[in-house]
Symmetry: C2
Subunit: 503 residues, 2 copies
């Protein structure tokens, strides 16, 4: 087998990926309840089949041959590297461990739904411990197989690498450390400041779902979403799925919560624009796919947090709200902006504002790192959680497991190493937005006029069109001139929430 044969194999995997993406979208959006057992079987078989394709013994020789091919174009060299990454990851963990992971995760996730509702930590703990035990084994296997080549310093790095290639405890520790040092102080000043002001007005009454849906479609169009190449539907949990040529965005509506619905749409459209903006020349090849979760989340948060909650965007948006929802003094730009930038520490990560959100993530990062590296056990988790929430956000979670360490689906479903991406994405977004403003000094005027084409072109040029051609750090350096730092995010918080002019 040659490089061309590898391309053919990964083309096949991409087509299976298409079917998996669509089957998963359907499962969440369209499927009737009794269809779930059959769907799960079909998707499991597809996943086994993809793994078998990647584990085909002939691939080893193919990679050897291809690595000696001197005729490859630069994009093919990058593609080969991405192919190798997927292949290595699929072969590094023994089959039995993959099965054990899937089994323990589905068992724990299933139990979690009941135990969480019952606030029953005691019953949940052994199942979660089993998940972490297996994650530990997987981390060890990945460390052994790939540690040297990928530069893992510890087994937790191997787990982070599954979700956000290019990130590690080495890159994250200093960045999160600085946030943990500075954010609590900033948070205190921000809440004191906001408490001195009158509360922003909320909408004067419920807003019909149909009206919110029409508004959402208008906003998606303003954000460049092509409804000839995608759909918007309603689900319990908003997500962005589908494929590059056929984007499937979902959201949920609450008659009494316009703010949340609106920002969910902007967030998911950010994910969707990234996927639909990937390089068409490399469709169906790994180098043409999106980067890890830290970059993906940077696009949704660029849209939602940097662009969507800017004063200028809100000024541009306000007339659309009045036009489509009817006039309400709540929809005046100044008030809307205050609604969208209200800061308030709370127990639940997914409801958190952008200032307190990183503290939720840092707490989870520290805990999962220490669990994997062995300096704490699952039994210590509630106490550690309580301490963290107290010191980072001043909140007590004693005995409240449901809104404490049991609130997220990530750990019960086996996603250990995923959490850091959220905050890395927020930092990337702030750094990218700052770079765009430097490079396009008058861009905020465009944004206020809702002329967003230059924003999209900038993102397309620096992020979307790159696929996985560059490494994470190359991507950030090419786009912003420097590697990821927490400075831009902290400056952004000072500017937006404390009106401090920072250089």
């Amino acid at each position: 087998m040659t490089y061309a044969a590898l391309e053919k194999t990964f083309y096949r995997l991409a087509q299976l990926g298409h079917l998996s993406a669509m089957a998963s979208w359907d499962q969440h959006v369209m499927m009737p309840p009794k269809g779930n057992e059959a769907r799960s079987r079909a998707m499991a078989e597809l996943s086994v089949l993809s793994t078998e394709i990647l584990q085909d013994p002939s691939l080893e020789e193919a990679f050897e041959e291809a690595s000696e091919d001197t005729e490859l174009e630069p994009w093919q060299v990058a593609n080969l590297q991405q192919m190798r990454r997927r292949w290595q990851s699929a072969t590094a963990v023994p089959k039995e461990l993959v099965e054990a992971e899937s089994l323990a995760a589905s068992r724990c996730e299933h139990a979690w739904r009941t135990h969480r509702a019952d606030n029953d930590w005691a019953s949940f703990e052994p199942k979660l411990a089993e998940v972490f035990k297996i994650q530990n084994d997987i981390a060890g296997a990945l460390m052994d197989a790939l540690g040297a080549e990928r530069g893992f310093k510890n087994p937790y790095d191997a787990l982070i690498d599954r979700y956000d290639p290019g990130s590690s405890t080495q890159t994250i520790d200093p960045i999160f450390g600085k946030l943990a040092d500075e954010l609590p102080g900033l948070l205190q000043r921000i809440t004191e400041r906001q408490n001195r002001e009158t509360s922003p007005l909320a909408p004067s009454g419920p807003i019909a779902v149909e009206k919110q849906d029409r508004l959402s479609r208008r906003i998606m169009e303003l954000l460049g979403f092509d409804f000839e190449a995608g759909r918007l539907d309603v689900t319990a949990h908003p997500f962005s799925g589908g494929v590059t040529e056929d984007s499937r965005v979902t959201t949920r509506y609450d008659e009494n919560n316009l703010v949340e619905g609106l920002m969910a749409i902007i967030h998911e459209t950010g994910h969707a624009r990234y996927e639909t903006g990937l390089p068409r020349d490399w469709l169906y090849q790994p180098v043409g796919r999106s980067m890890g979760m830290g970059v993906h989340e940077s696009q949704s948060l660029f849209f939602e947090m940097q662009l969507g909650r800017s004063k200028e965007f809100v000024r541009g948006l306000a007339p659309h709200l009045s036009e489509m929802l009817g006039s309400d003094s709540c929809f005046e730009a100044e008030n809307l902006h205050r609604l969208y930038t209200k800061v308030e520490p709370g127990l639940i990560r997914v409801n958190a504002d952008e200032v307190t959100y990183p503290m939720h993530v840092i707490l989870r990062y520290e805990i999962e790192r220490d669990l994997i590296l062995g300096s704490m056990t699952v039994a210590d988790l509630p106490e550690r959680w309580n301490q963290g929430m107290k010191s980072y956000l001043g909140l007590d979670t004693h005995g409240n497991y449901k809104d404490g360490p049991m609130q997220d689906i990530h750990w019960p479903s086996g996603a250990v190493g995923y959490f850091p991406s959220y905050t890395l994405g927020a930092l990337n977004a702030a750094q990218l937005f700052a770079a765009m403003r430097r490079q396009l000094p008058d861009i905020m005027n465009d944004i206020e006029a809702m002329k967003l084409e230059r924003v999209f072109s900038w993102l397309s040029e620096h992020i979307w069109s790159k696929g996985s051609y560059l490494s994470y750090s190359e991507l950030m350096i090419e786009a912003t001139g420097e590697p990821l730092s927490s400075d831009y995010f902290l400056n952004h918080v000072r500017q937006r929430y404390l009106s401090e002019e920072v250089s």
Copy 2:
């Protein structure tokens, strides 16, 4: 490989079939237009992959070993036979011919859309000739590889076998011959009789799509459709898709044509009840799948023609129309029944009533048989069509290619051998309905009261729960006591349309 290994292979194929069914449903119902290229690629790859699995050289030995396994249960023996059928069909036609078939079909079908609109036979003819040339080659290949084992008497039999295993020119010729002899005379008497009566009332005005949709759901529920295990959506061409555990029915609504929409729903629900009623113990194995198209169509036509247009069903249905659509004298049972049983020769097969429909099919059957067996060429087709329409239905189609030999998608898309199934289905349906009435003498009272459980149980016992366990003729003999004949259909026509009491 043993029998168990074969089961595993066919389990995998069934899961790929699930993904294909859902991707195809999505393509017709949900997919935005620009998603089509990517979807076509994914589905083509899935199809290649399934063929590769079936063409794996190790299967030959597996079938040999399994055939010597004396421990198999009866259902496993039947399953092995069905597996062998699929495997043989997938290996009988050379790869290049399969590719040529797909290419010629997609080229001809594409051209057909334009040429049909333009009534342009001259441009269409060479493309259709290419399709028939390849179908000829395929028929030859199938005849060579499977003719002896499957008892084909000629190459056209080999094409029929692709769609309706167990049917052949030998079984069809006498049945269609009798219909061709008797139906034209019956048709004349029926139209004379209906012309003497006043026309039935049509609805007094347009009926909103939303109302029709609510009514359709009510009717599907009356017909036992489980909305917890299926959906109803809108498409350009109604179909029934999905999988056994997750049935996807589609329909279309026309504000000015309630009759068509209603009967389309009943028809598609018949297909859906068959698929959802297949034996759950054999899910994912070939023996648990539906029989060929002649049996499938028998279920939709049992619902639509035998049950749905019976006086008793229409009496039971009428109050639901008045309740959900508002009162209208058109909805009185007697009038509705006359609307649903209006007979009128026309040019277009899909619009035909049940009395003229078989003549459309017989004409196509005779033409495709003669094209494959070489006694006519595609150049002769318009003249032959015109002659047939004149002698069977008294209609002139001279120069009207669009509503003549170019009206159907079947031939341009390469489906030669498919047409007979429609009329075989109608005959099966009449024979099954008559058998049910004999076995359950008071069943028409249940139907008038819209208590349909015993109808469903009868169908489930005799058809649905059998999957592919019995052969076509065994199935009919077990259910009705005799092999397929045209007598029950002809009697049904005499009773329903001429009020003749026939034994």
